[in-house]
Amino acid sequence: MKTELRRILAESARLDVPIDTLSDSDDLYAAGLSSLATVHVMLAIEDEFGVEIPDHMLTRRLFSSVDSLASAVEELRRQQAAA
């Protein structure tokens, strides 16, 4: 899943540095993630994983690292499977 997330970030996040130079826990905002770019990252994630990110999960914490995005997607998939 992190491979897909990294591809999405490379395509949509418009970071100041290549995503390959960041670890899974590195701060994406510190790497130049803008609020406008988070919108595109969100849409790409929803499309890729077939989930809808609810408003209450949309926080800076969600977009803060590859790790936090991955755990959110996992959580949403689990909820979908249970529903």
Binding site: D16, V17, A30, A31, G32, S34, S35, L36, T38, V39, H40, M42, L43, D55, H56, L58, T59, R60, R61, S64
Partner: protein, 421 residues
């Protein structure tokens, strides 16, 4: 402690409280009207000569209007944003350049008030700003960067707690006349363009070298020439919060709402002139309405709609300010604040700016048709040419083209675009 001393103490406290309280909105609005009357006297000369509205700005200083929005705790009047918007509206009816200068000053003050109060140097500067009624200006644009204020080329170079900075700014409004300039820059020499900080640079810490001229269609009194700015000082002058946060929470909300109130004030003054002209026309021919009747109705309808639209955004910004204070009080982390709220506010403010900047021009266009040649001429009580020229700056101050793209982008994040009544 006996009853008498207790009473004495209580009366002392009451007195201290009274002294600490700011002026009421009514008092401040009366002061703004006095300033506006002075500004109106010189508005035509300011426009013709493209000179700084020195008389109006001096009157603002005498009336201590520069600290109206500063909290009482720091010596100001603690006027809420909606009140400051009314001051701007009143000032704009006298002189558009003077009013937009006042609005821009406030959008700088709020950055220090909301993001600097934890730093001793910033608190001291705020006290000095109130005491001496200093005028604050902004240097966000940069030559190699263009109009996007969210990126910088110049960088802070901190050595032993002291910084040096040099910036080529294509415009610094009233830079030459400001007592302090707030400057954006990259956090350090290796920081990416979007990793910005905001530096508070009082006059004694910076020098300005003018570059270029300010001979424009309107807003000629803002004297927004380009400058080479060189500043140096102590690390405490750099606000401790990233500029992206300062811009989103403070600078942008305050500038978009206060600019809008200035534009509404300019349009209102033109409508008042047209209304007067219309009544005089009607007096000349009792019983028959002048042919421009429906235009007057349209123009007034539009101004009322603009005022209502602005009130909506002012309430939203004030609510966001309250929420932020509550979050800080409960020590909640910003990182868990819902992005939909901040995205919603950002797109609302964008749409406010689009709506008011466009309709204000449209309103004055109508008043020109109502006043006819008397409006077209520059030297009658019904002249609205200056109003029209001044308002043509509104769609350009942060280009509406850029704001439309940005808004559409923000709308992508929202499940329901229009919201509810």
């Amino acid at each position: 402690m006996n009853a008498a001393t207790q009473e004495l103490e209580a009366s002392h406290l009451a007195k201290a409280d009274r002294n600490a309280a700011g002026r009421s909105e009514t008092e401040l609005l009366e002061a703004a009207h006095r300033v506006s009357a002075i500004a109106a006297k010189y508005a035509s000369a300011v426009d013709k000569e493209a000179r700084f509205p020195a008389e109006a700005v001096a009157a603002m200083r005498t009336e201590r209007l520069f600290s109206a929005m500063v909290p009482v705790l720091h010596g100001g009047d603690g006027l809420p944003l909606s009140g400051v918007a009314r001051l701007c509206e009143a000032l704009a009816q006298g002189c558009a350049s003077a009013a937009i200068i006042y609005a821009m000053h406030q959008s700088q003050v709020v950055c220090i008030v909301e993001h600097g109060a934890n730093v001793q140097w910033q608190r001291d500067f705020l006290a000095r700003m109130v005491r001496e009624q200093l005028l604050l200006a902004s240097a966000t644009s940069e030559e190699t960067i263009g109009g996007n204020m969210r990126t910088s080329a110049c960088a802070v170079d901190l050595v032993d707690g002291a910084f040096n900075i040099e910036k080529l700014a294509p415009t610094i409004s009233y830079g030459k006349y400001a007592d302090c300039i707030l400057v954006t820059a990259r956090r350090h020499p290796d920081a990416p363009p979007s990793d910005q900080v905001l530096i508070v640079a009082p006059g004694e810490t910076c020098t300005l070298e003018p570059r270029g001229t300010w001979d424009t269609l309107g807003m000629r009194g803002t004297c927004s020439e380009g400058h080479r700015l060189i500043a140096s000082g102590a690390a405490e002058q750099i606000l401790p919060v990233p500029f992206s946060k300062i811009a989103d929470e403070s600078m942008l909300p305050v500038s978009h709402t206060l600019w809008s109130s200035v534009w509404i004030g300019i349009a209102s003054d033109a409508v008042n002139r047209a209304h007067q002209f219309f009544r005089n026309q009607a007096r000349g021919k009792p019983g028959a309405l002048p042919p421009s009747a429906s235009r007057l109705a349209q123009a007034v309808t539009l101004v009322r709609m603009m005022q209502a639209r602005l009130r909506e955004s002012l309430a939203a910004v004030e609510a966001a300010q309250r929420e932020r204070v509550a979050r800080q009080a409960s020590l909640a982390d910003d990182i868990d604040a819902p992005l939909t709220a901040s995205i919603g506010l950002a797109s609302d403010l964008n749409m406010l700016k689009l709506a008011i900047s466009q309709s204000a021009v449209q309103v004055v266009q109508e008043t020109l048709m109502i006043c006819g040649m008397a409006g077209y001429k520059n030297d009658t009580p019904y002249s609205v040419g200056r109003h029209l020229r001044d308002l043509h700056s509104a769609p350009l101050m942060i280009s509406n083209d850029r704001i439309e793209l940005n808004t559409a982008n923000l709308l992508l994040a929202q499940r329901a675009a229009t919201g509810d009544l």
